[in-house]
Assembly symmetry: C2
Homo-oligomer: 337 residues x 2
Amino acid sequence: MTEPSRLRSRPTMDDVAAMAGVSRGTVSRVLNGGHNVSRQALAAVERAISKTGYVVNQHARSLVTQRSGSVAFILSEPQDKLFEDPNFNNLLRGCTQVLAEHDITLLLTVAATAEDRQRIGRWVTAGHVDGALLVSNHLGSPLIAELKERGLPFVVCGRPLGQERDVTYVASDDRDGARQMTEYLRSTGRRRIAIITGPLDTPGGVDRLAGYREIAGAGDPYLVATGDYTQASGEAAMTRLLSQAPDLDAVFVCSDLMAAGAITALQRAGRRVPDDVAVGGFDDNRIATTTTPLLTTIRQPWARQSAEMVRLLLAHIDGAEHAAVILPTDLVVRDSA
Amino acid sequence: MTEPSRLRSRPTMDDVAAMAGVSRGTVSRVLNGGHNVSRQALAAVERAISKTGYVVNQHARSLVTQRSGSVAFILSEPQDKLFEDPNFNNLLRGCTQVLAEHDITLLLTVAATAEDRQRIGRWVTAGHVDGALLVSNHLGSPLIAELKERGLPFVVCGRPLGQERDVTYVASDDRDGARQMTEYLRSTGRRRIAIITGPLDTPGGVDRLAGYREIAGAGDPYLVATGDYTQASGEAAMTRLLSQAPDLDAVFVCSDLMAAGAITALQRAGRRVPDDVAVGGFDDNRIATTTTPLLTTIRQPWARQSAEMVRLLLAHIDGAEHAAVILPTDLVVRDSA
DNA sequence: CTCCAAACTGTGAGCGCTCCCAACTTCGTA
DNA sequence: TACGAAGTTGGGAGCGCTCACAGTTTGGAG
């Protein structure tokens, strides 16, 4: 490698101070809120800043403040998921927005492979970020352990299965939501209620299944199928269910995206929705209003979820204790059930 | 805000050096390749590193090296696009991978609003990253001008309309790809070839339209409709075209995702694909192999595209001159035309 | 007129690292 | 035996910033 031609070497605080005819300290004060600075000093500094095009060197600042002004949004999921599942979209949008209000930048990293997770773990703990938001963690995620050991503040989205101890997390009440939906299906007279669960190494997988079982009973294993939250997996699971239990009259699908797939499978099999088979989803994201018929589903409070995650993370960065927040869910009745 | 309880204060190089019984300089040498370090010093340092759990403080390092070891992937697009369009996925995956080989982390930022763009512009130029990959830039993107002024190395994906001067970019040969497709449709006997373009403030919008016109002529304005690269917009545009020009016998759709929408619209209108209307796409991403019938399309060399972008960015960071790379495209014939 | 608080300003120390240079060791060779 | 080259090591300087503290000014109260 040849000698790199650095960025056009940027002006420093000293340059600004010299031009404004004040000291470094005064420039620093202006940069950090402008308290205890006289009117004319402030004006002079601001003029010098815009004249020199000065931008604070974040590395130097971080070195002394021990703060970077950014947090990581770590998605532990193969990349396609990110692009298919609107839930991540909702979450990401919410977090970015709330963080922006605090003037903190959100860095999105996708940990698709174990190797990625390692690199990201190193990167995150090298001081690049003040904290992390962990999304979509499967059972036994090594990232949680690593961050915990490093003492990097983080908040997990969803219950971190088997690692709830000393971990801050925000989750929807998956179990209760599942209960609500199953109960509702039952209340409309359905008797053979199947379920398409999420992966059983995720909280959304196990907790929603548990909620379903509280109402539907442990019952018939032929009424249970598992998907991976993709539309294709919902379609496949539904097809399986239909062949295992042709007499089912309702299905609770643990995500809207999978529910869309399930509806496709049902219609291809000649079943009418909801006349022959009622379909209930989970999430209430944009998919729910694009299916035909419109999807009856459980609303997860996405906005509150992201707001809580950010709030807890910032609190945690400021030294607060661990906390777990469980948010309530609502039944949204549309046409599919 | 109360006094923050910083991270458990991390060990520094001096701690490691003390434990290993060597000097800071030697530890630094070990960290940076281990050249000119005796076997036993190296072993001692490595032992001390793992015993203390030392991780280099990136801010301190960056402060002196003027390098951060990360680059930004800036997507100037409303967030939903990111999640719907598989092209971004392809690009992102490719860039992450190639950068990882250089041990550089990729930071994804989504600049959905003008406000976001400002915040990101500030953030990027504050020295957080060594360079930026700009994706999906619309006409007159202010980000390009800002980065250029700041002297931050960057590479644009796609031709930066009206800002090609002194800007490094990598693009597919949109014009030629469009030409190939239109020519192919013509060669199969189609005579009323419509087009659904991308937004006309993007290179993919204008250049593909230009390529189409070279073959199809400026012709009938009723044969031209514009979408925004979403599936829904493809469907809507196709519906419009059908009512404007019911006798069309082929349509060149400037993205696979829109083509999927167009096929839906055609089938709903009772037209058979390709018998009544031939459909050609553009991109050749995973959508192309999930439509029925399978999509005949133009392959964009995604892997090469990302590899070239990264190569140029790294070169640029190392002081290389500006460059423009245009990559050739291929016609992929499947069933829809 | 004096004195003290409040407002403002400058300065040195130091964040944790890399880079450079001087110094020391070792060894093969004249 | 002496000497230079090559390999190895320590330590000072300094990256650009914040923070604490001391110093200066101002103005109102006593």
